[in-house]
Structures are given as structure tokens and as C-alpha cells.
């Protein structure tokens, strides 16, 4: 029963569509995590940033009646909070992990607080007329049998996420900023000795991760769903960190890692809806985490072997 349903969904490409939708927030936040990780400031506060973006975007969007306002608000809010995070970790010497942890706490609590204060709601906020991020339908192509479903009908943010992979490749490898970012993350002393401001680069890296987390969060409440639910990120921010590691710290690897995690998530969702399925959804959800740990061990072993071989 399960296999049939699954196979059908693969064949009629619904799985593909679900995969892209589910993968988008993971990919976007992972790209944000990637940039800050490369710059040497690991951002574990992606959860909190996404929640803040999710709430503020739908609140602003339904107030202004525009999805553009929604997305811009989400991104701005996330960037603002990551700037504060940067201030505390770079100027006040709060450990970056603790700062990220505080952002997660804050994101979770403050969004619930605002939801209660502004709308008098607990649990979820689903405005009737919240504008959604539009889906992109390509005329003519959408009528072509297989190709149509592959290319047309996806949400705009899905396309933005995919394009962001290319954007990050350009940013990291084809701009001087990207070179400085990599230098600061790996050898801050060397960068500083050449006049590159380590603090400034780290700060902007955090801003980038905020921007991407903002996009991810806005999509959660204005694209994937059309509401804000408390703690709706459900660990995506931590997943993103795992994706960065699994993807070996480069944008294409992050894309592949997001596909792996997204696939697991998508299949788990489908499996959950089928009564009496032999594979428990938890197992499928487990796979990406176990894979990440195994990848970590693999990389660590490889490091050890390489170090032993050095002349």
C-alpha cells in the first residue's frame, strides 16, 4: 500500500513538487548557515531568526495586503536580529554559540508573545486574507506533459532558493568579499595582517545568514503554509547546520544535502498520511541525522589520517 502510493507520487511528480516545497526552507537557511560558517561565525540561531521572520512577514503582509511587503519585512527583521547577535558576539565577547542559543530562545518566545499581544491568539495566527507568495506558472511549458510539471507551478521562493545556490557560488568564489570571507574563517591572523577587518567580515557574514533565514522564514508562513504557528520551524535551523556539514561547506554540497534531508522529510510526511504503513515515519526522519553523524565521523577520520601522513 505504501510502496504503491509512493511510486505513484514519484511517477506523477507530486513527490517532486512536495520535495521542492519542503526543501526550500532547509536550503535557504542552510545557505545562510554556510556563509556564516565559512566566515568563522557559526550561527546556531537560525531557528529563532526564521521564527521571527515567519511571524513578522505574515503580520506585515496581511496588514499591507502585499506579499512583497511580507517577504521584505521578514528579511529585514531577521537581518536586524542577526546584527544584534553580531554586536553581542563580536563586541561584547559573548560566545557565538551562546548568542545563537539566545536568539533561538528569543525567537520562540517573542513571536508567541507578540501573537498573543497583538492578535490575542495562542497557538496559531491565520489571517483570512494573508497574501501568499505567488506560484510561478510558465505559459506554454506548463502544458507539456513531463516538463510542465517539472518546471511550472512551483512557488516563487522555490526558484529564489535554487537561484540562491548560484548566487552563493558567485559570492563565495567570484568576488573579493568571498575570498576575504574564506580567509577570515580559516586564518583570521593572516587576513588581519593584510588589512582585512576580521570583525567587519564576520559581522556581514552574520547579516547574510540573517537575510537567508529571513527568506526561509517568510516562505514558511507565506508560501509553504499560510499562517504562523508557534515554533513552526520544528528544528529546520538545526537541520540546516547538519546540511552545511554534510555538504562539505560548499553551495552545491549544501544543495545536495538539502535534497537528502528534504526527501526524507517529504517521504516521511507522505508515509505518515497512509494508514498502516510498515515504515514508521520516525525512522525516515532519523536517517538524515544519522547520516550527518556518520559523515562527521568520516570527515574526522579522514582528517586524522591526513595529519598522520604529513611529512
Amino acid at each position: 500500500m505504501v510502496w504503491e502510493t509512493l511510486w505513484n507520487q514519484i511517477v506523477d511528480l507530486t513527490l517532486f513538487a512536495v520535495l521542492l516545497r519542503v526543501m526550500t526552507p532547509i536550503l535557504l537557511s542552510a545557505l545562510g548557515g554556510l556563509i556564516s560558517e565559512i566566515g568563522g561565525t557559526i550561527n546556531i540561531g537560525l531557528e529563532g531568526l526564521m521564527l521571527l521572520a515567519a511571524f513578522s512577514s505574515i503580520a506585515a503582509g496581511s496588514a499591507a495586503g502585499s506579499w512583497v511587503v511580507a517577504v521584505l519585512t521578514g528579511v529585514a527583521v531577521a537581518m536586524l536580529v542577526s546584527a544584534v547577535m553580531g554586536f553581542f558576539s563580536l563586541k561584547m565577547n559573548v560566545d557565538i554559540i551562546i548568542a545563537g542559543f539566545a536568539v533561538n530562545l528569543f525567537g520562540s518566545g517573542f513571536t508567541i508573545f507578540l501573537m498573543s499581544k497583538i492578535y490575542g491568539l495562542t497557538g496559531n495566527y491565520s489571517p483570512a486574507d494573508a497574501p501568499r507568495i505567488p506560484t510561478v506558472r510558465i505559459p506554454l511549458v506548463e502544458d507539456v506533459p513531463v516538463l510542465g510539471q517539472l518546471l511550472s507551478g512551483h512557488n516563487l521562493m522555490v526558484w529564489i532558493a535554487l537561484l540562491s545556490v548560484w548566487f552563493c557560488i558567485v559570492l563565495i568564489y567570484k568576488t573579493p568579499y568571498g575570498v576575504h570571507l574564506r580567509a577570515v574563517g580559516q586564518a583570521p591572523q593572516a587576513a588581519q595582517s593584510l588589512g582585512i577587518s576580521v570583525v567587519r567580515i564576520k559581522f556581514t557574514a552574520l547579516l547574510w545568514s540573517g537575510a537567508f533565514a529571513g527568506l526561509a522564514g517568510s516562505f514558511l508562513s507565506n508560501g509553504l503554509t499560510n499562517m504562523f504557528v508557534k515554533d513552526m520551524t520544528g528544528g529546520t535551523g538545526f537541520l540546516a547546520l547538519a546540511v552545511v556539514l554534510l555538504g562539505n561547506r560548499n553551495p552545491v554540497g549544501v544543495l545536495i544535502g538539502s535534497v537528502v534531508f528534504g526527501l526524507a522529510s517529504a517521504i516521511a510526511t507522505i508515509v505518515q498520511t497512509i494508514p498502516g504503513s510498515p515504515i514508521p515515519s520516525q525512522f525516515i526522519q532519523l536517517i538524515p541525522y544519522v547520516v550527518t553523524i556518520l559523515a562527521l565521523v568520516f570527515f574526522a577520520l579522514r582528517q586524522k589520517r591526513l595529519a598522520a601522513l604529513k611529512p
Binding site: I42, I44, F88, M92, N93, V94, D95, I97, I98, A99, F101, A102, L105, F106, S108, G109, F110, I112, F113, S116, K117, T122, G235, F238, L241, A242, L245, P280, Q282, F283, Q285, L286, Y289, V290, T292, I293, L296, V297, A300, L301, Q303, K304
Partner: protein, 351 residues
């Protein structure tokens, strides 16, 4: 600068930051509530005025003390393990298993066995990231975060399938554990349960362990200066693994105490982030058992206050989160100031 003066300075610094955080929280309440004074009274005064509320504070403090201790131990070794949440689940699950399926044992034997099983199970689970860190230098932040999910998902599966109680819909749970081994209520007129004794005992045990045993000496030394430890012949790797295992055992104890005191069996997704709260407690308590006790009680007080405030006014209880965040940021920033201040004073003394 002598020892007692620097201690007073540190305590003073912490009090200042706590006061600052509370003040900011009050400001937020005043700005957003239509009846701020009511809300503030409900938040800060009410928790202490009724026996029932005090009982609730104690109950909330119980797991916080244990996870706070768990993080304090591992932070003192310089390991940033964030795995208390997962270890908590493992402890609760293993303990509940022994609780449910060992019902034929006499309670006097059954109860300690449950605790031991919970702590041992969690300790073994904690050994995984510990060994990965000590022998492969695998980053403990990521491994423990991942293992949290693994533990939560695995126990969720287990409680939803092979170990699910009969006829239960919605949130799955195991069969209820026999009343004989559950933690009894200790203060009439409240819900306070005997777990507080376990937590207090744990404070004493951890204090003795860290400051009065040779293992504690090693755990703290490795955290303070691993090179000096190596020079002295200490096996730093073993110490790291041991420290993480002790931390995991404490987190597992938190899980089983919550199970025996409040939940009465293992329930799917029962923890509301107790493992992560432990991080805040340890930070506030400066990784010292006495500090953890004070921080856990204070934190529980804030939580209960937020709840009574929500009940009695128009403020949602998430205001507590704002205070918690400010506490975390202010306390860690303050820690750096104190350290720098000490450094400068030292340099002046040298000249």
C-alpha cells in the same frame, strides 16, 4: 585582589545583571500591558504568596537543577555538549521501561533500579559524542544536537509502536508505572513531589564530586588548562569521555525524575526543552552546584510567575522568555568584563 573580594565582586556582578534583566522585563510589561501593575504583581509577587505556587516552583526546579548540573559538569571540562535534551529522553525511556516491566520487584529494589537504569542508559548514550570528541576531535556541538533528534525520534517510534500502551490515541505513552515507585507528594495542599530530594542530593553529590574527589580535580583541570593536565600525566581523553558520561547520567536522571514525579510514565515528546534550559541554568550558576541551585530556583520562580501573570492579567507568559534571553546575554557579557577586570588588576599587581 584576594579570593573573597573577587568572589564578592562576581556575586555582585551577577546580582546587577539579574536586576537589570528583571528591570527590562518590567519595562516591557509596563509598555505593553493595559494593567501593568497587576501584571507585575502577578509575575513577581504571586508565586511566593501561596503554598501551592511554591510547590509548583519546587517541581519546576527539580529537572532544571539536574540538567543545570549536567551542563555545569561538562562545561567545567570545556566541552560544549548540547545533548542534555536527548540524554534526558534516553534516561526517561530506559527508566520507564524498567518501571513498567519490572513491576514484580519489591519497591525498595525497584525504585533504585529504575534510577540506575535511567542514568546508566543515558550515560552510555552520552559516551557516543564524548568518544567522538575525545578521540576524533569531532565537534561536540553538532554531534550532540544531531543525537538529540536521534534520541527523541527513536524513543518516539518505540513508544508509538512496540511499547505503546493499550487503547491510547493521540499522544502515545507507555503503560502507567506502578504507584509504588512513583514519587510521592510531600507538601500537603501542593503538587510538590519528592523529586526535590533527589535534586538536592544531586547538588551535594556533584559538589563533592567536582571539588572533593580526584576525578573532580581532573575534570576541572582539563577544562582550565588541558596542556598542564597532559604535562602532569592526566589522560585528558578519558577525562573528557567520563565528564560527558557523568553529564549524560545527570540529564538522564532529570528525565526519569520528571517521569516518576509528573508524567507517571514515558510520554511521547514530554520535554519542553528542559535540556536546553539546563544550558541557561549552568551559565547563570557559573557552573557551580550552589549557583545551579540558586539559578534553577530563580528560573522556576520566573516561569511560575509568568504563568500566574498570564492567568491573572493580559500578559502572555512568554515575557519570561525575554527576561531569560536578557539574563543569558547580560551574564555572559558580564563574565567577560569580570575576567578582563581581573586580568588588568593582575597586570597592575605584577608591576
Amino acid at each position: 585582589m584576594n579570593a573573597s573580594r573577587s568572589l564578592t565582586l562576581e556575586l555582585g556582578g551577577i546580582l546587577v545583571t539579574v536586576a537589570a534583566a528583571l528591570l527590562c522585563g518590567s519595562v516591557v510589561i509596563m509598555l505593553t500591558s493595559s494593567e501593568p501593575l497587576v501584571a507585575i504583581r502577578a509575575m513577581f509577587v504571586d508565586p511566593l504568596t501561596s503554598a501551592f505556587n511554591i510547590g509548583t516552583i519546587l517541581n519546576k526546579a527539580v529537572p532544571l537543577i539536574l540538567t543545570g548540573l549536567a551542563l555545569a559538569v561538562v562545561f567545567q571540562t570545556g566541552v560544549f555538549s548540547m545533548g542534555a535534551e536527548g540524554q534526558l529522553y534516553v534516561g526517561a525511556f530506559v527508566g520507564a521501561l524498567v518501571g513498567v516491566y519490572g513491576a514484580s520487584l519489591p519497591p525498595l529494589l525497584h525504585f533504585p533500579l529504575i534510577l540506575l537504569a535511567a542514568m546508566a542508559g543515558a550515560a552510555l548514550y552520552g559516551a557516543i559524542p564524548g568518544i567522538l570528541k575525545a578521540y576524533l576531535n569531532a565537534d561536540e556541538v553538532v554531534t550532540t544536537l544531531m543525537l538529540n533528534f536521534v534520541a527523541i525520534l527513536t524513543t518516539s517510534y518505540l513508544v508509538n509502536n512496540p511499547f505503546k500502551a493499550e487503547g491510547v490515541g493521540g499522544f502515545a505513552r507507555m503503560e502507567y508505572i506502578d504507584k509504588d515507585v512513583l514519587l510521592p507528594k510531600i507538601i500537603p495542599g501542593t503538587n510538590a513531589h519528592a523529586g526535590i530530594f533527589i535534586s538536592l542530593a544531586a547538588i551535594l553529590v556533584v559538589y563533592l564530586l567536582l571539588y572533593k574527589t580526584s576525578i573532580g580535580y581532573e575534570i576541572r583541570l582539563v577544562g582550565k588548562n588541558p596542556q598542564f593536565a597532559k604535562y602532569g600525566g592526566i589522560n585528558t581523553r578519558k577525562v573528557v569521555v567520563l565528564s560527558v558520561m557523568i553529564s549524560a547520567a545527570l540529564a538522564g536522571c532529570a528525565g526519569i525524575v520528571e517521569t516518576l514525579g509528573i508524567q507517571q510514565t514515558f510520554k511521547d515528546n514530554f520535554s519542553t526543552g528542559l535540556g536546553f534550559d539546563g544550558i541557561i541554568i549552568a551559565l547563570l550558576g557559573r557552573n557551580h552546584p550552589a549557583g545551579v541551585l540558586a539559578a534553577a530556583l530563580f528560573y522556576a520562580y520566573i516561569q511560575v510567575g509568568a504563568q500566574t501573570m498570564q492567568f491573572n492579567s493580559d500578559m502572555p507568559r512568554e515575557v519570561a522568555v525575554i527576561i531569560q534571553v536578557l539574563l543569558v546575554l547580560f551574564v555572559t557579557a558580564q563574565a567577560i568584563f569580570a575576567y578582563l577586570h581581573q586580568r588588568m588588576a593582575r597586570r597592575k599587581a605584577v608591576m
